[in-house]
Structure formats: structure tokens, C-alpha cells
């Protein structure tokens, strides 16, 4: 079993995705209980202002690293340059959580900067479990893995919740449950989002993501795209309430990567999640 690393866990509060546009505002903000999530790939540089900002912000707020480049489900060997850079960042910034995706993003030495889907087959499960295991051993800590947003109805041998639970059982990793991804995938590939949410065992969920989606320009609402470029949609909020009323509060991230709003606007959205979490804690 892999020992969990020592940094304190994320608070049971709402955090925001860290964007350079907001560095100054976050530093000046008095928001209490705020935590930050960064893509470590954006900080894989030798030096300079980006790292200096992250250092300054890390002194004030708990941090989570949400990796996008490991390609755990992919055909290429685990990239040692990427792994090395990630390990140094983890050693330097001591994030409370490290997460990655059920996806692949590289093949033949080429990096696609996107999260490609995997069929939920026994073969894919074995391969992904082996790779998560190797990745956790290399990092010497357990990670959380995130459910994908899916645009293709891949022939599969099991439902996604079963696939994810089995991955956790085999590797000791936890889940980063992205509620928007559940909603988008349910819409695009035709399953019941509420039933999916209900099927996730609460004890496996270490973090929750909330983000916005947009309808495909060509196909309209038949094909929803996980753009992180809009506010969280109402039906996604409803699924979120459904989730936390069952499993209790979890660190929850408002993820925004495009059409970045003003800091106060983003914080208002974060406040809504924070309020839902506070109600949950009261009820418990």
C-alpha cells in the first residue's frame, strides 16, 4: 500500500482553478477557506514569475495539482521527463492532492493536449490499473483519477461507475468526480446521470469538480462540449446537490479554463458551492 503524503488535506470547502489572470486578485483577497487547483504542466519551467506567483499563493492557500499530461490510459511508456518535472513540482509545492484523468493524450511520442477516451473493457481496465499503480509508486503517493467527458459511444463491457470503482479497488487511488462530465457524457452517450451519481460509493470520492459546458456549434444540444468556458449549468448544480446530500461535503472545485470571468464573478460561483457545502456540514 502506498503511504499518503503528509501535507494537510484540502478543506471541505470550495476552491477555484488557478489562472494567471487572477494571481493578483487572489493574493489580495481575504476569502476564507479558499483553495486553489493548478495544472502542474503550466508550471514546468526553470524559473520566472509563474513559479514565484505559485509560491506566494501557496503560502496562503492549500493547493491541488490536477495533471493533464500523464496519458495514463495511453500506449506510450510513462514519460520520464514529465514524471521528473511533476515530482520536482510536488516536492517544492507539497500539494494536498494530486489528480489525473481516465484518458490518454499521447502516442508515438506525440502529445495531443486533449483527453482521449478509452473503451471500458477488461483489457483497458487492466492496462489503466497497471499504469496508475506505476504512477503512484513513482510519485510515492495515492492520486485521484477523474471520470472523463465522453463524446463517442464506445462499445464497452461495463458501466463507467463500475469501471471507476474497480480501478480504485485495484490501485488504491481515489476518485475526482466531475459532475459536469457525468452530465455531458450522459447527454452525449445516453445514460441516466442521476443513476450514475447514485452509483458512486461516497468513500472513494476525494474531490468534486464543477464546470460549465456548451452546445456544439454544429450539432446543438445533442452534443455538449466540456469547454470549461461557461458558468456551471443548473442541472449540474442539481446533480451536485444530489451527490453531497448523499455522501456529505467534499472539497469542490469551480473549474474555468476559457472565457475567464472577473475574479469576483468566479468567486460568486465558488460561493454558491461553498454555501451548499456549509449546509451539508450543518445537516450532518
Amino acid at each position: 500500500m502506498i503511504p499518503l503524503a503528509s501535507p494537510p488535506p484540502l478543506p471541505q470547502r470550495a476552491g477555484i482553478g488557478l489562472k494567471p489572470d487572477h494571481y493578483r486578485a487572489i493574493l489580495d483577497s481575504a476569502a476564507e477557506g479558499l483553495w486553489l487547483e493548478a495544472h502542474p504542466e503550466n508550471y514546468m519551467v526553470d524559473g520566472g514569475p509563474r513559479l514565484a506567483w505559485l509560491e506566494a499563493l501557496r503560502e496562503r492557500h492549500p493547493l491541488s495539482f490536477h495533471g493533464v499530461g500523464a496519458s495514463l490510459g495511453g500506449p506510450d511508456p510513462i514519460d520520464s521527463d514529465h514524471l521528473g518535472a511533476l515530482k520536482s513540482l510536488i516536492a517544492r509545492f507539497e500539494p494536498a492532492v494530486v489528480s489525473e484523468h481516465v484518458a490518454w493524450s499521447a502516442a508515438g511520442g506525440r502529445y495531443f493536449a486533449d483527453l482521449f477516451p478509452l473503451p471500458r473493457t477488461d483489457e483497458a481496465l487492466c492496462w489503466l490499473a497497471e499504469r496508475i499503480d506505476a504512477f503512484q509508486m513513482a510519485l510515492r503517493r495515492a492520486i485521484l483519477i477523474e471520470n472523463p467527458s465522453v463524446y463517442l459511444p464506445l462499445k464497452s463491457e461495463m458501466d463507467e461507475p463500475d469501471f471507476l470503482v474497480e480501478l480504485c479497488k485495484r490501485t488504491g487511488c481515489g476518485l475526482l468526480l466531475d459532475v459536469n462530465n457525468v452530465f455531458v457524457s450522459a447527454n452525449n452517450t445516453g445514460f441516466d446521470a442521476a443513476a450514475y451519481i447514485d452509483a458512486i460509493p461516497g468513500h472513494l470520492v476525494g474531490e468534486v469538480h464543477l464546470a460549465g459546458h456548451e452546445a456544439d456549434a454544429r450539432r446543438g444540444a445533442n452534443l455538449l462540449i466540456d469547454t470549461h468556458g461557461a458558468p456551471v449549468a443548473e442541472p449540474v448544480w442539481a446533480l451536485y446537490e444530489r451527490l453531497i446530500s448523499r455522501i456529505g461535503s467534499r472539497p469542490t472545485l469551480i473549474e474555468r479554463d476559457a472565457n475567464i470571468p472577473a475574479f469576483d464573478t468566479l468567486m460568486a460561483e465558488r460561493g454558491r458551492a461553498d454555501l451548499a457545502l456549509a449546509r451539508q456540514l450543518e445537516a450532518a
Partner: protein
């Protein structure tokens, strides 16, 4: 089975042959959804180029930049698992890009954008302070090998595009610049948080090039004087020191300190 799937997916998303992917789908008609992945992949890399080359994007105009950015992504797709350093070969690619004759200074503007980014993300180090040299006997200065700050980048350009480049990196109102095919030397460096740039004379450029290659101060001065008799070593050296162009970590200086002082 999984390897067949990877290939079928790549053929559809990165290549232009979606036929095999259909066999892996519940509904073959949904194969057109693979376009979502295709768009994200090419869009992501092209956006990373636009972020890394803001002045080129502005000088080239949206339509032309989009065109050359996608062509570059197809020719040299990302290979590292982070897009922060993506696009190192973009300036050379632009040299041969169709339509570049309309704006032949764009490759040099790209060299400036690229050097700016390299200076921006170079290792952080305090610059050398003039006080660190104060106790050194002036006549021994010529023997000293001083390391430039790790962020220093020296460029020799075929077009005098620096001013137009600098103006277009900022979100300043459009302004006409006369860009001519005249040799221009530029130094970029980041003594603290901000990247600085300076246009150099040919002699100054030679001085810093010799230093960058590990030459001693005296040697660099001689090289510069060979380019122009007007080169003023004391002035240029003091200016560079003041501007933070030298690294705080100086192995040769540390050695000579013990030997000379």
C-alpha cells in the same frame, strides 16, 4: 484489441480516415463526433502558439496567423507533455511559409517572441551587484570571466523589427512602423520579474557574444573594439552591470577573490 482501438482513433482524429473507428462504436453514425477531439487537439496547440507569439499573431493578423499556426501544428506537433515551451521552431518555419513575402520580417518578430519567452521562464537568479566588484583592482578586471545572467538571450536579426515587435506585444493601439531589411542586434534578459530588451550596436553585440561564449572581459572588449573603434568598454560594462545582465553566481570571481584580495 486496445492497440487496434488506439490506431483507429488516431486515424479518425489526427488523420483523415474515420472508417476503422466505427467498428468500436455502439452507433457508427456517431463517428463524426470524433471531430470534437480533432478540433480540441489542433485548437489547443494553435492557441499555445498564439500565446507564445503574441506580437507575431498581432502583426500577422488573425487570418494569416491562424493559417500558419495550423500548418505548423501539422508539420511539428507537440512532443512534450506541456505546451508551455511549444513552438520553438516556429520562426524557422515562418521563413518558408507560403505568403511570408508579404511580411518578410515576421520570422524575426517570432525570434523576438521566442527569446522573450525563453528569458521569461529561465532559471531565477539575482543579478550581480556592482558592489560585488568594488574591491577588485581595476587592472585585474580584464582577466575576469563573468557569466551573463541565465536569462540573457542575444539575437542577430535581418530586419530592424524590434520597435514594431515591442509595440505589438503590448495591447497598444495600432501604429505604423517602418521595418527595413537592416541588421539589428537585440539583447533580452530578466533580472527580476520583468523581461527587459535592448537594441545593441554591432560592437556591443560582439562584446556580449564573447562573454556568452566564456571569454574574459578583456577579450570581449578587444573583440568589440575590432568591430568599432568607438566602443566604450567602461560605459557598456557599467551599463550592463547596472541593468542586471550578469549572474550573481560567479565561480571565476569567487576564485580570484581569494587569489587577489
Amino acid at each position: 484489441m486496445l492497440s487496434g482501438y488506439y490506431q483507429a482513433f488516431l486515424d479518425a482524429v489526427v488523420g483523415t480516415d474515420p472508417r476503422m473507428l466505427g467498428a468500436y462504436l455502439e452507433d457508427r453514425a456517431a463517428v463524426s463526433n470524433a471531430l470534437v477531439y480533432r478540433n480540441t487537439t489542433f485548437r489547443g496547440a494553435a492557441d499555445a502558439l498564439a500565446t507564445a507569439y503574441p506580437a507575431v499573431a498581432r502583426l500577422a493578423g488573425e487570418v494569416y496567423f491562424e493559417h500558419v499556426a495550423i500548418a505548423y501544428v501539422e508539420a511539428s506537433p507537440p512532443r512534450q507533455r506541456s505546451l508551455v515551451g511549444y513552438g520553438e521552431g516556429f520562426a524557422d518555419f515562418l521563413e518558408d511559409a507560403p505568403g511570408i513575402a508579404e511580411a518578410p520580417y515576421l520570422p524575426d518578430a517570432a525570434r523576438l517572441d521566442s527569446a522573450w519567452l525563453a528569458a521569461h521562464r529561465a532559471p531565477s537568479q539575482a543579478p550581480l551587484a556592482a558592489a560585488d566588484l568594488a574591491a577588485l583592482r581595476p587592472e585585474r578586471l580584464a582577466e575576469l570571466v563573468l557569466k551573463l545572467h541565465p536569462s540573457v538571450r542575444l539575437l542577430e536579426l535581418g530586419w530592424n523589427v524590434h520597435d514594431a515587435w515591442k509595440h505589438n506585444r503590448a495591447d497598444a493601439p495600432a501604429k505604423t512602423h517602418q521595418v527595413l531589411p537592416e541588421r539589428q542586434y537585440v539583447m533580452l534578459w530578466r533580472p527580476a520579474h520583468e523581461v527587459e530588451t535592448q537594441v545593441l550596436s554591432a560592437a556591443e553585440a560582439r562584446f556580449f557574444q564573447t562573454l556568452a561564449c566564456g571569454g574574459a572581459l578583456g577579450e570581449a572588449a578587444e573583440d568589440a573594439l575590432a568591430v568599432s573603434q568607438d566602443f566604450n568598454t567602461t560605459l557598456v560594462f557599467a551599463g550592463a552591470l547596472e541593468a542586471g545582465a550578469f549572474a550573481a553566481e560567479q565561480p571565476d570571481l569567487d576564485g580570484k577573490r581569494e587569489e587577489w584580495w
